[in-house]
Symmetry: C2
Subunit: 322 residues, 2 copies
DNA sequence: CAATTTAGTTGATTTTGTCAACTATTTTAT
DNA sequence: ATAAAATAGTTGACAAAATCAACTAAATTG
């Protein structure tokens, strides 16, 4: 047994208290920090509630008053008056519903859209001002921390977006470590692999690097706000074969088309290299990965029982003709 | 040359936009999520402003009205009335200042303290409710992300504090990768070492792990907000010798006593292990490290010229008798 | 098809926050 | 030393934001 455990598994009461106290501190700090409590946003004539209503109209396309009321939890009478004000100011239009004579769909007018754009610009400037005191690393860390929080707290739209992900294929300092780390963390979490697995990945990466030839091998790294969150690699093998390796996505970045994007890049590279075929080795435990492989034209050609990293599993081989 | 460069070094505009959009989303989400906008906190008779005032009285010990006014940015007249209400309700006491007949120090009464305790409990429950849908590790990640945000935004560019650093000596998934990464990034930045160095570190860590014996070897990792930012290790060697390895701090965490803290832990472990002596290998390039070694009783015993990682340098050996 | 529910409106009112004028001190400038 | 200016806080008048309850009109239910 390689691993040495020190810390307790059970959450300790005082730790929970510390966590909660920390969150409370954060809440208090963050509310004051961003001036979220100001009544009048950016010295405009609109209150925070006004802006929230406009935002709902803009993004919850074709909402009714009730939709907004439910989303924001405000008094119907109050909302009614706010909407009438907006209508009078030419920011919002009510489109009576043919199927329900009581309700109307709400949309922004061009003027309303313009107002919201201005608001967003002002908000962006405020954020930019906040960011400009930070070093570039700190900026990306801030972004990643917020993104992660939104994700953790299950915010709507908190899931990462493909547009925020950057894919590159050079190797920079820290990348090797990040590759190892990503594997260690993801496989430990998903399959309970112990640290021997991480060690194993380290060895395979080491071997790969010794023979690495930028013209024939390629590693793609996907990063979001500076953090490596996925990867794929192609290695040249004898007889115009290629091997696909280290295809991995952090769980919270799955299901957004990133796996496909990486696989596409890899396959395109294989075509450029004029490989006859590409193979990969995996285990039967990686169920979801398998379906991605078959979707991209790979076929299972072998399955051998093995005991690895404290697990009984089948080592599988997939091949795709190019 | 192993490295292949593709992407520009300059931060890309669209990524900044994504970052800002992400932050705006976070702001919007977080304000609504936590009900920070509700007027009446926890169905009490107190408004958000009321509670903020009480909080200031409680924690900015012995504030005056002006102190609160400056902290919260509210109208003096409004505050005056709020305070009078609190006085009448027996929550706050005004202690006229002998040195200034215009002002008074404000303190909470026992009743005021009790009210704040209740408020805090309600707030804790709300947070607990938010947390209970999360897995334990998600909870800790949430706490860490918030702590980091508070830290990043509060003290932009400020030096990290030793209190925020946690030192542990178990090995968790991702740690091996983090160790490699830390070395790769720091040495690239400070001495321009190329990725071969990171590869070399990977190999040495791999070798170490093969022979790793928790009873005789130890790796300490220093982390701040969940990120590994420093480390040190002791490996057992024949003849009751110990070798000190991988002593490294991220540059921005130097000069806060962390190096000393790590070294102390390492030396204490060496005493426990009853080593006769401890040695370490370094190069003449690591000038600042050398001074730390001598400060902790190490003496240079050898210096051999070498060419490593694209650099001409002297490999040096330091020894300390225990 | 009467009774009930739902969507939204309106009037009355309260709560919350703002502005300006004011008093009583303390500090500053001459 | 003393007049002028600044500071700390109060008060009155008022405006804005939000709530509550009673209401209308349309849709749904039994």
């Amino acid at each position: 047994m390689l691993q040495e455990t020190i810390t307790a598994k059970e959450p300790i009461i005082s730790q929970e208290a510390a966590l909660i106290a920390g969150i409370r501190k954060f809440n208090r700090y963050y509310t004051s920090q961003l001036g979220l409590l100001q009544q009048h946003i950016f010295d405009s004539e609109y209150s925070l509630t006004d802006v929230r209503v406009l935002y709902e109209v803009q993004f919850n396309g074709k909402t009714t008053a009730t939709g907004i009321r439910e989303a924001l939890g405000i008094d119907p009478g109050y909302l009614s008056r706010i909407l009438r004000k907006f209508e009078k100011q030419g920011l919002v239009i009510k489109h009576p519903l043919p199927e329900d004579g009581r309700s109307s769909h709400l949309t922004l007018t061009a003027r309303g859209e313009k107002l919201m754009r201005t608001m967003n610009e002002l908000s962006d400037n405020q954020i930019r001002q906040m960011l400009e005191n930070l070093a570039p690393e700190e900026q990306t860390k801030t972004g990643e921390a917020m993104r992660q929080l939104r994700y953790l707290l299950k915010a709507p739209g908190g899931a990462p977006r493909l547009e925020d992900v950057e894919i590159r294929h050079d190797l920079r300092p820290g990348d090797l470590g990040n590759i190892v780390r990503l594997h260690g963390e993801v496989y430990a979490k998903e399959y309970g692999y112990n640290i021997e697995f991480e060690q194993y990945v380290m060895e395979t990466i080491g071997e790969f690097m010794k023979a690495y030839d930028p013209a024939k091998d390629r590693v793609w790294l996907a990063s979001c706000f500076g953090e490596i969150i996925g990867m794929i690699a192609i290695i040249h093998r004898p007889d115009r074969q290629g091997q696909l390796r280290w295809f991995l996505l952090r769980p919270d970045f799955r299901g957004i088309g990133l796996g496909r994007a990486l696989m596409d890049k890899a396959m395109e590279f294989c075509r450029q290299q004029q490989f006859k075929e590409v193979y990969l080795l995996t285990t039967n435990q990686q169920g979801t990965a398998a379906s991605i492989y078959t979707k991209h034209g790979f076929m299972k050609t072998a399955s051998v029982p093995e005991t690895l990293w404290g697990q009984d599993l089948y080592e599988e081989r997939y091949v795709r003709k190019m």
